[in-house]
């Protein structure tokens, strides 16, 4: 299951994977992921970026398992930590990015996601 607020991801994968589209912020995506984990979905990709910080991009895509199982402590730890990390960054800059930059950020989010989908 891909949880994302990136419409490029939705449009490209909605017929192939189970895509849950969040019409909201990066944090809304993290919260949605956290909620899924608490009911037993497993986190499959790390919820943070690896260089583009939460203060620099509004887009995030995270993969969790389609099926529910037992609630994984490792997954809870990772997502809760990600939310704490997210909160410590100043997000004022995000209000001012141009449409061209937004497209580039969507692309980066998409390519990082695809590195996990083996594409």
């Amino acid at each position: 299951m891909i949880i994302t607020n990136n419409d490029w991801v939705l449009n490209k994968y909605k017929d192939i994977y189970n895509v849950v589209y969040i019409d909201g912020t990066f944090k809304d995506v993290l919260i949605a992921v956290r909620d899924k984990i608490h009911i037993g979905h497993e986190l499959l990709t790390h919820p943070l970026g690896s260089s583009v910080k939460p203060s620099e991009t509004p887009y995030k895509s995270v993969i969790v398992s389609d099926n529910k199982n037992y609630t994984s402590f490792d997954s809870i730890y990772m997502i809760e930590n990600a939310i704490i990390t997210y909160d410590k960054f100043n997000k004022d800059k995000l209000k001012l990015i141009s449409d061209k930059v937004k497209e580039d950020l969507k692309l980066i989010d998409l390519t990082v996601l695809e590195s996990a989908l083996d594409i």
Binding site: H46, S51, N90, S115
Partner: protein
């Protein structure tokens, strides 16, 4: 013929100045460059519509931005293979014989690949203190892609342009007598144990960024995302076996220059036979898929255990999800009774009080910090800008109002190329 000790001699030709000239050559410590030949070399790749080349020297009032990669010119003089194997040279194994280095020179690539631009190098002023590249004689490549070129194709074209120009300059050193020679010898496992049986055995776990466009590293041309944790001779790294396709974010990405001059490898060689027995280098990736993180860190720990080392140094690249790889490597290696020392940078907030990494564990009790990337700095205006100054507001570490009318920039340390390099490249320290 069995090679019990792999030997590489690095011959340094010290470069103290760089100038444009009719003929490209190195003479009396000056690197002379034929501008038109370099431009023609870049434009061999039809993905570029224009190419230009500029010089940036230490102490000049020059700002280069956005910086993608920095590469040191080197050339194989003796021994198999060529510099940057698998990329612009064939895949023959490097790391032995002789390699000449134009020490004090660098090729810097710039260009708008995506909208959020990365990397500033100031050649003087406050900013110059935070980057090692302000001390080098830089040949800066500025090239514009053809219209409609996709970002990943642009990134690839620019990456290769950098290596080609670095090889072109390096070739000028091939027949020169070096000013100084440094010898690096790596014994095989059996020889190593025989040579220094009483010294603690130490390995280096070298983490490579591997997450996608602008976040990639290549080993003999192979995308590190696709690799299993493995071993490499430290001298292979000195011949460019590992190169950077990574440019986000500027302060803690390992440029190709950093890879060639990995200070952890250099320092381990210095201590080899004195305070420790430098056994070897384990390279491991930083994928975003969690099972890959588990697999790779399991493998690092397995190899460290198999080598029977007493301790490892682990260096990370990046921030955020690679912090999880760092902690996994640390925990699993420590669980085998092997001591670890981690080298990383911090994102501890503007005041330095937030948790520095996105992950933590009690076994990570020996950590060397390369600096706080959230630290705010003021960069004075520079007389000359090579590149695009208007991107200051959108680069990592910049914020609205970063670029002031007088050309000065207020931004986080993140914006400066190499500022908090996680191999511990820089000399600034805090007490």
């Amino acid at each position: 013929m069995e090679v019990k000790i792999l030997k590489l001699e690095l011959g340094y030709i010290f470069i103290k100045d760089i100038q444009f000239s009719d003929v490209s050559k190195v003479e009396n410590g000056t690197l002379y460059v034929n501008k038109e030949e370099v431009k023609a070399l870049i434009l061999e790749d039809q993905n570029f519509k224009t190419a230009d080349v500029e010089l940036a020297k230490p102490g000049e009032s020059v700002r280069i931005m956005p910086v993608k990669d920095v590469i040191e010119p080197r050339v194989k003089v003796e021994g198999p293979g060529g510099i940057f194997p698998g990329m612009v040279s064939k895949v023959d194994t490097v790391g032995s014989g002789k390699t000449n280095v134009l020490k004090g020179a660098a090729v810097v690539t710039t260009g708008k690949i995506v909208g959020f631009q990365e990397g500033i190098i100031d050649m003087s002023g406050t900013g110059a203190e935070y980057t090692p590249f302000s001390k080098l004689n830089n040949l800066v490549i500025i090239c514009e892609p053809i219209d409609g070129l996709k970002q990943h194709e642009h990134e690839k074209a620019l990456r290769f342009a950098g290596y080609k120009v670095a090889l072109y300059l390096g070739a000028l050193a091939k027949d020169l007598t070096p000013d100084e020679v440094e010898v690096f010898e790596t014994p095989n496992l059996v020889e190593g144990i025989k040579m220094y049986p009483e010294l603690p055995r130490v390995a280096y776990v070298f983490m490579l960024q591997s997450q996608g466009l602008l976040h990639d590293t290549y080993v003999y041309g192979v995308d590190a995302k696709q690799t299993l944790t493995t071993m490499i001779y430290p001298t292979e790294v000195m011949d460019g076996a590992i190169v950077s396709g990574n440019c986000v974010s500027a302060c803690d990405k390992n440029t190709t220059y950093h890879h060639l001059n990995n200070p952890i490898i250099y320092d381990l060689f210095k201590e080899h036979g004195k305070t420790l027995n430098f056994v070897g280098v384990i390279i491991t990736n930083e994928n975003v898929y969690l099972a890959d993180k588990e697999r790779s860190s399991n493998w690092s720990a397995k190899l460290a255990g198999f080598l029977g080392v007493d301790g490892v140094i682990v260096s990370e690249e990046g921030f955020g999800n690679p912090d999880t790889d760092l902690i996994m490597n640390c925990k699993k290696i420590e669980a085998k009774g092997i001591k670890t020392v981690l080298v990383t940078d911090e994102y501890a907030g503007r005041d330095g009080t937030s948790q520095s990494l996105a992950d933590a564990d009690v076994s990570a009790n020996a950590v060397v910090s390369a600096g706080n990337a959230n630290e705010v700095i003021e960069l004075p205006p520079m007389e000359k800008i090579i590149g695009h100054v208007e991107v200051a507001d959108v680069i990592a570490g910049g914020f609205d109002g970063s670029l002031h009318k007088d050309g000065s920039i207020t931004a986080e340390l993140q914006v400066i190329t190499g500022a908090t390099n996680e191999m511990g490249f820089n000399k600034l320290s805090a007490r």
